[in-house]
Symmetry: C3
Subunit: 348 residues, 3 copies
C-alpha cells in the first residue's frame, strides 16, 4: 500500500499535492476497483473512464481537470503503469547458489550471486556473468557465454559458442544457436548437410520468449541487436542480422541471411524471405509476406507485401469485384444493343 | 479378441443378434483386413465399402441392409470406433510412485496413485491431484496446481501459480504460463518490460499438444475453457479468454486479450489479432487472418477474414480478372470505334 | 592450412597444376580475405567476384580463364564448398560413454561407440545403434529405436515405438511421435480423445530441426522418407506420408493424412490441408496455402494455391484493380452520354 503522494514520487509523475488517498493495487481500466491505480494511454478509450471505479488514474496532462477520477499526470502513462506494477508485485528470484544436481563442465567461469537450478547442464568453458539466474533443466553447450543479469527459464538451450549479452531474458524452451537450415544439392536429388560453424550473438536487454529458435550462421554469426524483443514460436534463420529495439511478434519467420533494421515491428505470423533488407522503423501488419527488400519507414501489409494504404485499396477492390464484373456485363449488353440498333437503323 | 456380440454390448451399439463373428482388431476402411472392425462416418465415402475387407463395420442405421459387410449400427460411428480402439489398445501408464531423481520443493501437496518421472522438478507449494502422471523432465514452478487425472508428457513446463483442471493432457514441450509479450515504449525507441504477474487457468479435459505456448496474463489470467483442444505449435497470447469445447489447430496464433467463444474451430495457421471477440460456433478456415471481431456462428476464410461464400466469390473473381481486364479493353475499343463512326457520320 | 593442390585433391576438383597457394580458411564471397577459399554457385552473382579478396574460388569450368582470382573448377561449387568447410572446421563429438546420471530402462539394446549425455532418460526396451550421440536432457520413451550414426541434440523427445533410421539428425527440442490431433465429436459439442496408437518412422539421413513436431498416426505410422530435411517449428500431422529428399522449410504445417512426394520443396510458412496428395518435385513458394491435391512437378504459390505464373498474373491484376475500376466508370459515363445524345437526337 502506498499513499498517492508516495506513489507519484516513486513513479516520477505529477499529482495535485492536496490529494490524499491510499493505493492498494494496480488494474486495467475495466477491472480496477476502489484503491486500484489504473491508466489511460490511448485517448480513444477515454469513454472507459466514465464507469471506471479506480482510486486513481495515470493520464496525460492534457486531460487535467477533465476526468471524474483523481489523476496522476505523466507524458507516458503506460510506462508509469508498468513501473507501478513493479511496486505492487515482485517475482522473487530462485535461491542463489548452484543446485547439487547441476552438472558443471571443465573450465567454466561463474560470476557472483548466481542461481543455477536443478539438473542444469553446463558444457566446458562456459562463462556465466554476475547475478545470472538459470532455472532447472537448461543446457548450455561448450563455450556459451551469458552476460551478467541474464534470466533463463527452464528448458532453454544455448548452443556452443553462442554469446548472450547482459540482462537478456530467455523464456521457457527457447533455442539459441541450433543449426541453420543449410544443405547443398548433391545432383542426384539428395542433399549434403552444410556444417553450421557460425554462431549467434544476442545484444543486451534482448528477450526471446518461449519456444522460439534463433539459428546459428553457417560461417558467420546470426545477430540480434540490443533491446530487441522476440515473441513465442518465432524462427530466425541462419545469418540474419536483426537491429536494435526491434519487435518480432508471435510465429514470425525470417528466412536466412536477412537484414532487419532498428525499431522495426513485424506483427504476428508475418514472414520475410531470405537475403532481403528491411529498413529501420518498418512496420509490417500481421500476416504480411515480405518477398522484396523494404525501404526504411514503410508501413506494409499483404502478401506480397505492399504499403498498407495500397493493401487497403486492394481489399476494397476485392469487395467490389462481383459488382465490377456485373457492370462490365451490363456495358457489354448495352453496347451489343447499341450495335444492333445501329445495324437496324442502317437496314432501314 | 471379442465376439461381435460382446463388442456391440461394450460399445453400446446395435447388431443383428444372430451374427456370429470374432473381431481381432480395428483399422481404417482402406486398410482393414478380415477380423478387423472399421467404420463409416461420412456417407460420401460409401463407395469405399465396396472393396473393404473388414470383418464388420460401424455405420449409421440408415445403411441397414444395404452393405455387403456385417454391420454394427450407431448414430455416431466415429465415436464408437474411437471407443473400439480403446478396447484393442491400451497405453500403459508409467509405474506409480515418485522417481528417486525427482526434486520436490517444500510444502508440496501430492495426491494418491501418482507417477512422477525421472528428473521432474516441482517448485515449492505445488499441488498434484490424485492419479496424475508426470513424465520425465517436466518442470512445475512454485504454486502450480495440477488437477486429478492429468497426464503430462516429458519436457512440459507449468509456470508459477498456473492452475490446471482435471484430466488435462499436456503433450511434450508444451509451455503453460510463460511471460506474455508486454513492453511499454520508453520514448527513445527502447522498451521497458511489463512484469507479467497474471496467470493461466486451464479448464477440465483440456488438451494442449506439443510445443504450444499459452502465455500468462499481465495482471489477469489467460483462461482456456473446459474441453478445449489445442494442437501443436499454437500461440495463445496473454490475457486471452478461450471458451469451452473449442478446437484450435496447428500453428494458430491468438494475439493478446482476445476472447474466443465456445465450440469455435480455428483451422491450421489461422491468426487472430488482439482485443477481438470471436463468437460461439465460429469456424475459421485454415490460414484465415482475423482482424475484426466475428459474430457467433459465422464461417469465415481469407485475409482479412470474410464469410466463406464471399471468400469463394473473391477466389472466382481472381480467376476471372485477366479476362475481365480484356473485356474492358474490348469495350473501350468498341466505344472508340463507335465514336469515330459517329464523328465520321457527323462529317458527312 | 592446405596448399591449393592438396585442397583440389581432397575436394576432387580441378585446378591449374602450376598454381601454388596456401588456403587457410573458407568464407562467403563478400567476406573472404586473402587466404580464404570461397565459391560462386549462381552465375548471377558474377559481379561480386570483382572486388572479392579471396585467395581462391570454387566455380564452374565455364568461367575458366575469365576470373581475376585463382580458380578451382567443379560442376557443383556449392557442394565442394560445403565439403571444404568440413576440412577447416570440425564439430567435436561429446565424449563417448554413458553419463552416470543417465537413466537407462530395462531391456535396452545399446550399440558400440555411443555417447549418452547427462540426464538422458531411456525408457524400457529402447534400441540405440552404433556411434549414436545423444546430448543431455533427451527422453526416449519405451521401445524407441535410433539407427546407427544418429545425432540427437538436447531436449529432443522420441516417443514410444518410434523408429528412426540411420544418420538422422534431430536438433534441439524436436518432438517425434507426440499424439496426433484426433478427437471424435460426442454430439453434445464436446470431444472424445481418439487414442493415438500408431507411430512415426523416419528414414535414413533425415534431419528434423529445432522445435518441430512430427505426430504419431492414429493407427498407422506417420512416415518421413530417406534424406528429407525439416526446418524449425514445422508441424507434421498424424498419418502423413512424406517422400524422399523433400525439403520442408520453417513453420510449414501439414495437416493429417496428407501424402507428400519425393523431392518436393515447401517453402517457409506454407500449409497443406489434410487428406491431400502433393506430387513429386512440386515446389510451393513461401506462404502457399494448399487446399487441393497438386500434380507432380507443379510450381505453386498463393492461397488458395495456383501455378506460380497464374499467381503472378493475379498480383499484377490486383495492382491494376483501382485503374480498371476507373476505366469501367469512364465507359459507363461515355455510354450514358451516348444514350442521352441518341435520345436528344431522337427528340429532334
Amino acid at each position: 500500500m502506498y499513499s498517492v503522494q508516495e506513489l507519484a514520487q516513486l513513479l516520477d509523475v505529477r499529482v495535485d499535492p492536496s490529494l490524499s488517498l491510499d493505493i492498494t493495487g494496480v488494474a486495467p481500466i475495466e477491472e480496477a476497483q476502489a484503491g486500484d491505480l489504473t491508466f489511460l494511454a490511448n485517448p480513444k478509450y477515454i469513454q472507459k473512464v466514465e464507469g471506471c471505479k479506480a482510486g486513481a488514474i495515470l493520464v496525460s496532462p492534457k486531460f487535467e481537470g477533465k476526468l471524474p477520477i483523481p489523476a496522476l499526470y505523466t507524458s507516458n502513462p503506460y510506462l508509469a503503469f508498468a513501473r507501478a506494477i513493479e511496486l505492487f508485485y515482485s517475482k522473487p528470484l530462485p535461491p542463489r547458489g548452484i543446485h547439487p544436481t547441476a552438472v558443471i563442465g571443465q573450465g567454466c567461469t561463474l560470476g557472483k550471486d548466481i542461481s543455477i537450478g536443478a539438473y542444469v547442464v553446463l558444457g566446458n568453458h562456459v562463462t556465466i556473468g554476475d547475478s545470472v539466474t538459470i532455472h532447472p533443466h537448461c543446457v548450455l553447450y561448450d563455450r556459451a557465454v551469458l552476460g551478467s543479469g541474464c534470466l533463463v527459464h527452464s528448458h532453454v538451450v544455448v548452443r556452443e559458442n553462442v554469446q548472450i549479452g547482459q540482462r537478456v531474458i530467455l523464456q521457457n524452451g527457447a533455442v539459441i544457436g541450433a543449426d541453420g537450415f543449410g544443405f547443398a544439392p548433391v545432383g542426384d536429388g539428395s542433399y549434403h548437410k552444410i556444417l553450421q560453424v557460425g554462431t549467434v550473438i544476442l545484444g543486451d536487454d534482448v528477450e526471446v520468449q518461449s519456444l522460439s529458435s534463433v539459428d546459428r550462421g553457417t560461417l558467420e554469426a546470426t545477430t540480434i541487436g540490443h533491446g530487441t524483443k522476440i515473441d513465442n514460436l518465432v524462427q530466425i534463420g541462419h545469418g540474419c542480422k536483426v537491429g536494435k529495439d526491434t519487435v518480432i511478434c508471435g510465429q514470425v519467420a525470417l528466412a536466412g541471411s536477412t537484414i532487419v533494421g532498428d525499431r522495426v515491428v513485424l506483427a504476428g505470423q508475418s514472414g520475410v524471405s531470405g537475403h532481403l533488407t528491411i529498413g529501420d522503423n518498418v512496420i509490417a501488419a500481421s500476416g504480411t509476406g515480405i518477398t522484396e527488400s523494404i525501404p526504411k519507414g514503410k508501413v506494409i501489409a499483404g502478401y506480397p507485401a505492399v504499403e498498407v494504404e495500397v493493401w487497403r485499396r486492394y481489399v476494397t477492390q476485392f469487395k467490389n469485384l462481383p459488382e465490377l464484373s456485373k457492370r462490365v456485363r451490363r456495358l457489354e449488353r448495352a453496347l451489343e444493343i447499341k450495335k444492333q440498333e445501329n445495324q437496324n437503323s442502317g437496314d432501314v
